[in-house]
């Protein structure tokens, strides 16, 4: 069996980094192709619980993985990366935002409390005693970044990885003390996988030094 | 709802508020329905066709039509207002019925083309109704109704909009068709000639009721309504005697004498009024005089000129007692005595 396909269901925010990881994984596993199905963590978890085909699931938070565990579709959950919050502004920071306090009187956005990034944002803002109201509570971190990139918002609270991915389109302004409230990315092999061994290989690769290097380049923190 | 089998058409139906009709016709009979506008003629015909709800019964060869859906009644209907399918050619309009009744396409098309040819519009077979003149479309509508070979043929003012030649040709055509047709035909018309030449029964409707019913000759000779009298071109005068019995008097416009002063003689047969209109009518001038009731009088052109009988002129009319026919209004309902 030299031709194998591994189907990985992953949170949309992992799109870029997982494609890089897949390239390396395929290079070291001859005859293996990795196929992705990206979506929102919750949606993917629900689909997996409903029997969606796939070998591995990777979500942006532990809560959605809990859905899958509850459905009995997975046994072992592995944390493979963490992420921290940062401020981003449109390139060049036209509104001159240096700290969270500068958010007052600007049009800024963050994630809604129901999304993982929103829970973290609330925690960070509370610990800094910030009372400024955002213009919008975005449905996820991607949408938050989007508003900033498009110039609709003067600032947004997103993950460090998003700031890296956005490149020159945004200017990142780190938040002091944000490391104290990280979020974890978790992954698990799925019961419906036809090739549990290969699935485990992929998970092992994620936490291997080679995998870590790729994740770090994209801005992810260590588990 | 059904009765022991008896062929022909036995109707006793009511279209609430619009018409109440009793009728009995043998197979092959042609019934002319006449009456003023709004008398209920179309309502009656549409009720037979199943397009208007009606109470009562309408037995055709023993089956009550009123219990059948419009499609199952197997009637042929020329609508007042045509309702040709706008998206189909003349040919397809005519072929629609036969095809709906299960005939093959070729067969239906042949029947349709033959009918169109008969009605002088075979060369227009490919045209859509919009591209036909009014009279051409009317001929298509008649052809469409005949093409289904219905058991009951309902013709609601089929000759409207036809030119004289076409109307005459169609009357001849229809007469031939009807002669060999053993279904029942109901023909609504505003023309005396149709009733007199095509029908063997005349049904006179007035304000939703049957006012008279009999052979064309009987109805023409003893009209019971003003409308019929006007249709056949005679005058009709009603009198109610002391006992409440109504008597009718008819006389021809030719028998009316017109004078400018009150004539001598019996008071009952003279009227005063002003001329409402004066029109050429054959060799004579026909006056319509506004009296109670309005009467027609024919005078010679010379007399009209001498007396100055232009509209507005006050005149006296009289008629000799010998020239009138008198009969009771109950004197009706002589069924087709062919």
């Amino acid at each position: 069996d030299d031709k194998q396909t591994l189907t990985v269901l992953a949170a949309a925010s992992l799109t870029d980094v997982f494609e890089d990881l897949a390239a390396e994984f395929e290079a070291s596993h001859d005859g293996t192709t990795i196929e992705f199905s990206f979506g929102s963590s919750t949606a993917l978890a629900e689909q997996v619980a409903d029997g969606a085909p796939g070998d591995v699931l990777a979500t942006a938070d532990a809560a959605s993985m809990q859905l899958v565990e509850d459905a009995g579709v997975t046994e072992e959950v592995t944390v493979f990366a963490t992420n921290v919050l940062t401020i981003v502004t449109p390139a060049g920071n036209p509104a001159g935002i240096e700290t969270l306090d500068d958010l007052d009187d600007t049009t800024w956005v963050r994630c809604t409390d129901e999304a993982p990034c929103g829970r973290i944002a609330t925690a960070v803002l509370d610990s800094n005693d910030i009372t400024a109201e955002p213009a919008s509570l975005e449905e996820d971190v991607r949408a938050t970044l989007d508003k900033v990139v498009a110039g609709e918002a003067d600032a947004g609270l997103v993950y460090a990885t998003d700031a890296v991915a956005a490149g020159d389109a945004v200017t990142a302004v780190p938040i002091p003390g944000a490391e104290s409230v990280p979020t974890s990315y978790v992954t698990a092999a799925l019961a419906q996988s036809a090739d549990a061994e290969l699935a485990q290989d992929w998970i092992d690769f994620l936490v291997s030094p080679e995998g870590r290097a790729v994740l770090e380049r994209a801005g992810f923190g260590a588990p | 709802m059904t009765s022991p089998y008896s062929p022909g058409l036995q109707v006793d139906l009511t279209v609430p508020g619009r018409a109440r009709v009793e009728l009995d016709a043998e197979p092959g009979a042609v019934i002319a329905v006449i009456g003023p506008n709004g008398a209920g003629k179309s309502s009656f015909v549409r009720a037979l066709a199943g397009l208007v709800a009606a109470d009562g019964t309408a037995l055709l060869d023993g089956t009550d039509l009123l219990t059948l859906s419009a499609r199952d009644r197997e009637v042929g209907l020329v609508f007042q207002g045509q309702l040709l399918f706008p998206h189909l050619s003349a040919l397809d309009n005519v072929a629609f019925g036969p095809r709906s009744r299960g005939r093959s396409r070729r067969d239906a098309d042949r029947t349709a083309q033959d009918l169109l040819d008969t009605f002088g519009i075979g060369h227009l077979a490919g045209r859509r109704p919009r591209e036909l003149s009014g009279g051409q479309a009317q001929r298509v509508a008649i052809a469409r109704a005949l093409a289904t070979e219905p058991r009951l043929l309902l013709l609601d003012e089929p000759f409207t909009g036809l030119d004289v030649t076409a109307a005459m040709a169609l009357r001849i055509e229809l007469a031939q068709h009807l002669a060999s047709f053993d279904g029942v035909t109901v023909l609504v018309t505003h023309e005396a000639i149709d009733a007199l030449t095509l029908a063997d029964q005349v049904l006179v409707l007035d304000r939703g009721r049957v006012a008279q019913h009999g052979t064309p000759q009987h109805v023409a000779a003893r009209p019971a309504t003003d409308h019929v009298a006007r249709l056949v071109g005679v005058n009709l005068v009603r009198e109610t005697d002391a006992t409440g019995v109504e008597a009718l008097t008819t006389f021809s416009p030719r028998d009316v004498t017109v004078s400018l002063r009150r004539p001598e003689g019996s008071a009952r047969l003279q009227w005063q009024g002003s001329v409402a209109s004066a029109q050429q009518h054959g060799d004579a001038v026909r006056l319509l005089v506004d009296c109670e009731p309005p009467l027609l009088a024919d005078v010679t052109p010379q007399a009209a000129a001498e007396l100055g009988l232009a509209p507005g002129r006050d005149v006296w009319l009289s008629v000799k007692a010998t020239a009138v026919r008198r009969y009771g209004s109950a004197d009706e309902d002589q069924r087709g005595d062919r």
Binding site: V109, E114, A115, D146 | L51, T63, A70, R71
Partner: protein, 274 residues
Amino acid sequence: MSPRTQSQRSHRTDPLGRPPLLLLVPAVLAVALLVVPLLAMLAAIDWRTLPTSLSSAPLRTALWLSLSTSTAAMLVCLVLGLPVAWLLARVDFRGRSLVRVLVTVPMVLPPVVAGVALRTAFGRTGLVGEPLLAATGFAFPFTAWGVVLAHTFVSMPFVVLAIEGALRSADPDYDAAAATLGATRWTTFRRVTIPLALPGIVAGMVLGWARSLGEFGATITFNGNYPGTTQTMPTLIYVTRQSDQDAALALSLVMLVVSVAVLLLLRDRWLGTP
């Protein structure tokens, strides 16, 4: 189909004959296809948590915002879309079919792309939005006006197409008759064309309203999500789903019930048997 078995009464209601199975069967299938998922959803709702889910303040604000912005969008669609539909159906002008296609195109845009397109046009740095902001200080995004704009953009094509179809099915000869009686095109439009095509126009409006009510992607992309100004029901449901599936289902139920109620009311008003 024997005449005896059919009652006089049934004849009355259906003089044209019984609806054929060839039409009844697919119709029943279609209704089942549309209704079964709704029923299944109802069955999946956790009725115990329902009262708590429904007593939340965000629900009331979001519901009100949804209803008002959808209604506003529907009116805008009517005022702007009806004339387009009329032009497309009744006036022969150059480029008519191009205009028709251009009007149709926003329908095929995925909602998010529609949101992006709106932003590039009416956003703070957009083609129209930037001059507008400079001139008036007003910007659409993050406001209820922005929601109405997004709803309108997404729903108008449906409204235009539905009404155009209805106008084309109505007889244009009446327009000609009105013209010979001295009616201007405007009078004809108002007093003849509109009344004759009314059922189709009402259908188009219902279409537009319902489409707006369910619209989510374009609105959230263009306007974000803030309770009271831009958080409509679909947005609220979406974000709630990320943390609490049952609550999200309960919210969906509210939306269903409210829209059924509104539609039933509208029907009685507008489409009651005349």
